[in-house]
Amino acid sequence: MSDPILNEVSASEAAPEKPSAGAVRWARENLFSSVLNSILSVLMLALIVFFVKGLLSYVFSDERMWNVIPRNMKLYWTEAYPVAEMTRTWVSLGIVMALTGLSLAVWKVGGSTSPRQFGRTLTSIGIAGVVIAILADASGGIRVGAAVVGAVLIMAGQIVRLTAGPRFKEETIHIRSILFGVLVVIGVIVWILPIESGTKVNLTVQGGVLVVSYILGELIVRFVSGGLARGVLIGLWLLSLPVIYLVIQRAPITGDVPLVSVFLPSVVGFIVVGGALLWWAGSGRAGEAGRLAAGVVVLAALASWLVSMPMLVRFLLLALATFALAAPTFGGTKQAQKNFVVAWSGAVLITAYFMAMMQAETGLEGLQGEFIGGLNLTFLLALAGLAISFPIGIMLALGRTSSMPIFRLLSTGYIETVRGVPLITVLFFANLVINRFLPREVELDDVVKAIVAVALFSAAYLAENVRGGLQSIPKGQYEAAKAMGLSTVQTTVFITLPQALRSVIPAIVGQVISLFKDTSLVAIIGLADFLRVARDIVPNQPASLGSLRESLLFAMVIYWIFTFNVSRASLRLERKLGVGER
C-alpha cells in the first residue's frame, strides 16, 4: 500500500518548518498558476505599490503639519468646553476606562492567544515599518527610524515564534499581558508627543485606571458568579452615560427645580399608589377589571399632555400606563408581583432623576445651552440616539407586522415617510419645528433636538431591519407558542423578538455604524461635532492655518478606529450567539 500521493501529503505535513519554501509554493499555486493569473498578479502588485507609496509619501512628508493634532487635542475632544472645568472630562473618561477594564476582565474578551499568533502579529507590524522605510518619500531620519523599528519588531516576532517551538499549540499568552504591553507602548508615545505635561499625567492616570480595574475585574470574577457580575456591569454602563453627560459635564444647579413641591410628592405618590395598582392588576384576581384600569391610566396619560401639568407627572403617567398594561401578563405569582412592583419603583426613581437633571440649569460659567462639542458630542449623539431609537424601532417593527390594521398603518406610514427624506431635512425640521409641538414652557436645547432627530430617523431604518428578522422566523415557532397557551405579548417577548434580533445582528450593526457617522450632519444646525471641529475649527486656529488635510485625515482615522471595533465586536457577538448555526 504505497500510494505516492498519500506519501507526498504526509511528507509535506511532517515538515511545516520551512516557511520560505512554503511561501514560494503558496505564491506559485495562488498568484502564478497560469499566464493570465501571473499578468494580473503583477499588475495588481504594481498598483498596490503605487498607491501605498503615494499615501506613505504624503503622510510622512516633511511638509505635513502633524503637530497640529496633539496641540489641538482639547478642541477635538470637547470644543468650547471651559478649560477650567477640564477635570470633569477626565473624570468622565476615567469612569469609562474603569468600566472598560472591568468589562474586559468579566467578559474575558479575547481570552488568550498562541505565541505563534503573537509572533506573527509582531512580524507583520515590523514588515509594515520596513515597507514605510522603503516606499515613503520622506526625510532620511523618518526612513531610518521606521527601518530600525521594523527590523527590531520582525526580529522580536521571529524570536517569539522560534522560542515557542513545537509546543506552541499548548502554550498561550494571556490577553492581559498583551493589553498591558500595548498600554506601555502607548504610554511611551504619549510622553514623547509634544503635548502639555498635565495632559500627559492625566492620560497616564487613565491607563492606570484601566489596568487597576482590569485586575479588580479578574478578582471579582473569582468570587462572584459571572452572570451576576455581567448584569451589574450592564446596569452600570447604562447608568454611567447619562450620569456623565447630565451631571459631571454640566454641574447642574438643582435650586430652580421644584424638588420638594413637585418631585417628592410625585415620586412617593406614584410609587405607593401606582405600586398598589400594579400589585392588584398583576394578582390574577383583578381579571378584566385590571385591564379596564390600565385603559383608564392610558387615557389619563394622554389627557395629561393637553392640560397644564408638570412634565414629570406626564412621563410618570405614561410609564404607569405601560406597566399597567403589562401587569396581567407578567404578574401571577406573589414573587412575580413583587418583582414587578420593585421594577416599577426603580423606573419611577430613574425617571424622576433624569427629569430633575434635565430641568436643572448648568452650573458651568459661560455655557448656557451648549455644553459640549467635539468627539464628546459625537459620542453623546450616537449613544443617546441609539438608546432612544432602539425601543422605538422595535415598536415600529412590531406595529408593522401586527395584525391590527391601525398599528400597521401608522407604523408603515411613519417608516416610509422618514425613510423617504434625507437626515438633513429631519435635522432642520427638528431644529425649527419641534418647539411648535411642545407645551410653551418647554424649551429644548439644540443638542436635545439633534438627539431626537437622529433617534427618530434611525428608528425607521432599525424597524425595517427588525421586521426582516421577525419575518424570517418559521411559522412553527408561533404555532408552538400558541399551542402552549402563551399570549401574543409573551410570544413576542420570549420567542419571536429574541430570535429576530439575533438573526439581524449584522444589519443592526450596520445601522449603528451609519448612525455613528451620520451624527456629523448635525453641523448643519450649528453644532460643533467632531468632524466640524476637524474641518472648520482646528484649521482656522491662528497657529494651525493650512492644516486642513492633516486634520481631516486624523478625523478619518478616529472614525475608522471606532467603527472597525464595533464591527469586530459584532462578529464576536454573532459567533457567541451562534448565528447561522441553527
Partner: protein, 246 residues
Amino acid sequence: MPGEKDIIITEGVKKWFGDFQALKGVDLTVKEGEVVVIIGPSGSGKSTFIRCINRLEVHQEGRIVVDGVELTNDLRNIEKIRSDVGMVFQQFNLFPHLTVMQNITLAPIWVRKHTRADAEATAMALLERVGIPEQAEKFPGQLSGGQQQRVAIARSLAMEPRIMLFDEPTSALDPEMIKEVLDVMKELAKSGMTMLVVTHEMGFAKEVADRVLFFDYGSIVEAGTPEHFFTSPEHDRTKLFLSQIL
C-alpha cells in the same frame, strides 16, 4: 382504558382553504383516556382536523367542544383550551434560542404561573420520564432529532394537559430514532392520557390504538378497532390505502 366521559366532541366540522374544502363534515367523539390513531393519504385533511382541535386552524362550520368548552372566537376560551391540550409537531418546533430546560419551563412559569423552582423540578422529572435528563442544559440544536422530539413531548407534558395531539411526530426522524419516540408515546398511552395521533406508523396503531380512523378527501371513511381495521377493512379506499403501505 377509555373512561365514560366525552372529552372531545366534533359535529359536522367543515373547513375551507380558499376554494379547496379540506374538511367535509367530521363527526367524532373521543372518550377520556382513549387513544385514537388517524391515518390516511397526505392531503386528506387529517392534520388540519387535529389542528382545529386546539384552534391552530379555525373551522368555519360545525361545533368543536373540548373538555366541555366550545371553541369560539372568545380569546379566553382559546387560551384556556390551548393550555389544557398539548401538541407535538412533525418539525418539533422547539425554541432554538432557549435551553432544553428553558423550553420546558417557559409555559408553566408564564401561563400556569408556577414558581421557577417548581417548574424546574417538574421539568427534570419529565426529562427523566422521556429518558434524557442529562441534556437539560443543552440547546435544541445540539440534540439528535429523536431527542428533540422527546423534549417536545416533555414540553407539552409540563403543562399537565388533559389531551395530547400528535401531528406526524415521527415523520421527520431518521429510521433509527423513530423507536425511541414511539416508546415514549406508548408509555404515555399506557398511563391513561387521551391521545389523538396522526401517523404513518402502522405498528404503533396496531399495538396502542383503541380506535383507528381512516381519513380521505376531508372526511372519516372508516373507523374501528385495530383488529377490525387491519384484518377486515370494509371500504374499498381503505383496502387500497392499506395495500399500498403494508
